[in-house]
């Protein structure tokens, strides 16, 4: 049976990639080519955003102003966030979705391939516009990535540029999310029932729903800021009966689900990797699915925990405190399920597993500091301090970013057909894991001691831990060059990878050859193949 599957593929594979750069890449319709473009774009943005982070950490190396003026410093914090979130993380996840979802559900491609290409090609133009703000009179936006009015309305030439760039990113995300949902709902092979889907596909399905529901809300907020600035509306001006706090509500109605958009696919990746290297099926697969869906739902009713100090009625503060804490329940289910999957497993520590385990520990630290921030009266102390910076960087860097790196180390041999240098990859892991803690852990202390975020200078008592944090930043940043080198050399050649790549892989993507054929499943996999591939069922 399995052999006949492979024979079928060979038959259909004679139409490979189109010839010519423009034909293949600019006018692409293939999910792997588009996925690769997304990933390369995200990698480029990670490097640009990372360079901005290093400007920030260089300036904060000692008290006083040394390298940049405060306005440019504020531009760096703002642009770092926008580039990393919208240019790095989201395209990286979309790239992984493009590569993996059709392979995992037994489809030849994404459901709407041209729309897929449109989603991608909007991004380079959007970031051309955003990054161009660095060179216009007045410089790049400096009011923080949350673009709060009234501050943001005072922006100069960068204001319409950054606003319309965000609009373009939103269009790209919405179209990409529609494609993911349609692919999963319509392109699954017969026999690939919803509760047989791999966790990465599941978490991305929930992510795509979140995207469709919140990106338009961000578009609404951005539109209101634009009309307040140029066309005299008073949504966010008290004189006309509006309220700047209204902006914060609308923004965070987008912003909080956005956080889960960044982390849910990471949950999926970790749920794929830990069972493989524990040589056990994922513990509590169905509870993982329901926990992901619960997190998706809860993400819509917690947003005001970002604005406890803004002056809300007590009932509002209580409500958002309790709902926020409730998120710890499904997240706890996940953390315990991963731990239980590893319990008594035959663990081995290949690079993807190392990053997944680091994710498990360090993301949990980020989750716990999140619980601390959820307590309204305590948050009055932590708000806008470096404690918050430490919290969300723990969630996003050793959380989401480590999961992206783990995913690349896990699936890169399947994509390229080559195994990378695992020893060097372990070096990459240990350097990253050590430096990321040197970088972000001291920021907890700084925040609790009272250092505010988004300032270029600080009181001298914060000097020591800032210096430590800056050392960590440069160590972490330069360690990532190793990752870039590893990927490039793996794509170019190396030891041939087997079809299953790792010892105990489950999932349809491993039933395809390495490198995977250009059109993944031109005929649907049979029930037997699906059953063999399905994790733990």
């Amino acid at each position: 049976m399995a052999h006949s599957e492979h024979a079928d593929h060979a038959e259909h594979d004679h139409h490979g990639p189109a010839h010519g750069f423009i034909q293949r890449w600019v006018m692409a319709t293939n999910h792997k080519d588009i996925g690769t473009m997304y990933l390369v774009f995200a990698g480029l943005m990670f490097l640009i955003g990372g360079a901005m982070a290093l400007v920030i950490r260089a300036e904060l190396w000692t008290p006083g102003l040394q390298f940049v003026d405060p306005q440019f410093f504020n531009s760096m914090t703002t642009m770092h966030a926008l580039v990393m979130i919208f240019g790095g993380m989201m395209p990286a996840w979309t790239g992984l979705a493009n590569w993996m979802i059709p392979m995992q559900v037994g489809a030849p491609d994404m459901a709407l391939p041209r729309l897929n290409n449109f989603s991608f090609w909007i991004l380079p133009f959007a970031f051309l516009m955003l990054l161009a703000t660095l060179f216009v009179p007045g410089g790049a936006p400096a009011g923080g990535w949350t673009i709060y009015p009234p501050l943001v309305v005072q922006g100069g030439a960068n204001f319409p540029m950054s606003m319309f760039a965000i609009h373009m990113m939103g269009i790209s995300s919405i179209l990409g999310a529609i494609n993911v949902i349609v692919t999963i709902m319509n392109m699954r092979a017969p026999g690939m029932t919803l509760l047989r889907m791999p966790m990465f596909t599941w978490t991305w399905l929930i992510t795509a729903y979140l995207l469709i529901l919140v990106m338009p809300v961000l578009a609404g907020a951005v539109t209101m800021v634009i009309t307040d600035h140029y066309f005299g509306t008073t949504f966010f001006s008290a004189a006309g009966g509006g309220d700047p706090v209204l902006y914060q509500h609308i923004f965070w109605f987008f912003g909080h689900p956005e956080v889960y958009i960044l982390i849910l696919p990471a949950f999926g990746v970790v749920s794929e990797i830990i069972p493989t290297f524990s040589r056990k099926p994922l513990f509590g697969y169905e509870s993982m699915v329901y926990a992901s869906a619960s997190i998706g739902f809860l993400s819509f009713i917690v947003w005001a925990h970002h604005m406890f100090t803004v002056g809300m009625p007590l009932a509002g503060q209580m409500f958002f405190m309790l709902t926020t804490m409730m998120i710890a329940v499904p997240t706890g289910v996940k953390v315990f399920n991963w731990s239980t999957t590893m319990w008594k497993g035959s663990l081995t520590f290949e690079p993807p597993m190392l990053f997944a385990i680091a994710f498990l520990f360090l993301f949990t630290i980020g989750g716990f500091s999140g619980l601390m921030l959820a307590i309204t009266p305590a948050d009055f102390q932590y708000h806008d301090s470096y404690f918050v910076v430490a919290h969300f960087h723990y969630v996003l860097v050793p959380g989401a970013l480590f999961a992206i790196i783990a995913a690349v180390y896990y699936w890169l041999p399947k994509w390229s057909g080559h195994m990378y240098n695992q020893t060097l990859a372990k070096w990459h892991f240990w350097l990253s894991a050590v430096f990321v803690n040197v970088l972000f852990f001291p920021q907890h202390f700084l925040g609790l001691a009272g250092m505010p975020r988004r300032i270029p200078d600080y009181a001298t008592q914060f000097a020591d831990w800032n210096a430590v944090s800056s050392i960590g930043a440069f160590g972490f940043g330069f360690a990532q060059l190793l990752f870039v080198w590893l990927i490039i050399s793996c794509v170019r050649g190396g030891e041939k990878a087997s079809d299953h790549v790792w010892e105990d892989t489950h999932g349809l993507e491993w039933e395809l050859s390495s490198p995977a054929p250009y059109h993944s499943w031109t005929t649907p996999p049979s029930d037997a193949v699906i059953l063999r591939g399905t994790t733990g069922h």
Binding site: W121, P124, F125, N186, P190, T233, G242, D243, P524
Partner: protein, 296 residues
């Protein structure tokens, strides 16, 4: 093996060949927002919009022309048809949430920020220290009496005048498009043509009435986009709705032209259905608008 063979036939997914429209679309979008940036920053005149608008128009004509051509050649099977349907459905859902942001702003202003500005609830000091004179009643243009006539006053449009007529027009158009849909499915092309035409004519009349209403509001009532929070929510909600009705009516016109050319079968008519869903969506948004913006 038999199940495999059976699924094999119906699953010859259509993977489209490469297309230049996505990149043309991305560049046009860039030119369009670039035109907006140039105009808003005062770097050039409103003509800066022209390249972007031409690009977007080329995009719509070209991309739809190609897809309709492929469809007429029978290149799309049922699975592709289903993908299109789902795609349109979720696109409409995202549109609903775009409107939700503006309705959210309206409800927040009416229920929270305006009463707070008048010192109600948890904000007594707004009344005591900042705005002693302000009485927080809806409609309002805020304690600063922003916009409106020279003295800061303005009037609103009563629900049971033109807006009620517009409601009737849109509801009637919802009925006519349903009749057209039933006619299409039953193969009655004559009835289809008449009722589809009636639908977009009703849509364009609605847009025309909205235009006269706006003119009236701007020239006589002192109700403008800049008339405080009432003007902001009123014009942004009705304006985006009007834009969607215009787009929907253009879509209906295109579908009607395709009907005249003999497109669509009783079984397969995705473009018709997608347009009908879109039309019902703008219809429902209007009903909510009518109740919360005009009526109560």
């Amino acid at each position: 093996m038999s199940t495999h063979a059976a699924t094999h036939d119906e699953s010859q997914y259509y993977v489209p060949h490469s297309s230049r429209w996505p990149i043309i679309g991305s560049m046009s979008l860039f030119l369009l927002v670039g035109g907006a940036v140039v105009t808003l920053n005062g770097w050039g005149s409103g003509w800066s919009f022209l390249p972007g608008i031409l690009g977007i128009l080329t995009l719509f004509f070209g991309w739809f022309h190609d897809v309709i051509g492929e469809n007429q050649k029978g290149m799309f099977n049922l699975a592709v048809d289903r993908s299109f349907r789902m795609g349109m459905m979720w696109f409409i859902v995202s549109e609903i949430f775009f409107f939700a942001a503006f309705f959210g702003a309206l409800f927040y202003a009416r229920q929270l920020s305006v009463p707070w500005l008048g010192g109600e609830g948890v904000k007594p000091f707004n009344k005591l220290l900042l705005w002693q004179e302000y009485s927080p009643t809806w409609p309002t243009n805020g304690p600063g009496a922003v916009g409106g006539h020279a003295d800061g006053s303005f009037e609103t449009i009563p629900a049971f005048g033109l807006p009620a007529i517009n409601t009737a027009l849109l509801l009637a158009s919802g009925v006519t498009i349903t009749i057209a849909h039933h006619a299409l499915r039953a193969g009655h092309r004559g009835i289809l043509k008449i009722f589809l035409a009636a639908t977009f004519v009703l849509g364009f009349i609605f847009v025309y009435f909205q235009g006269t209403e706006y003119h009236h509001a701007y020239t006589e009532l002192g109700l403008k986009l800049s008339t405080g929070i009432y003007g902001s929510t009123f014009f942004m909600l009705t304006g985006f709705h009007g834009l969607h009705v215009t787009i929907g009516a253009i879509m209906l016109t295109v579908v009607w032209l395709r009907v005249m050319k003999g497109h669509f079968t009783p079984e397969r008519h995705f473009a018709f259905e997608a347009t009908a869903w879109y039309w019902h969506f703008v219809d429902v948004v209007w009903l909510i608008l009518f109740v919360f913006v005009y009526w109560i």
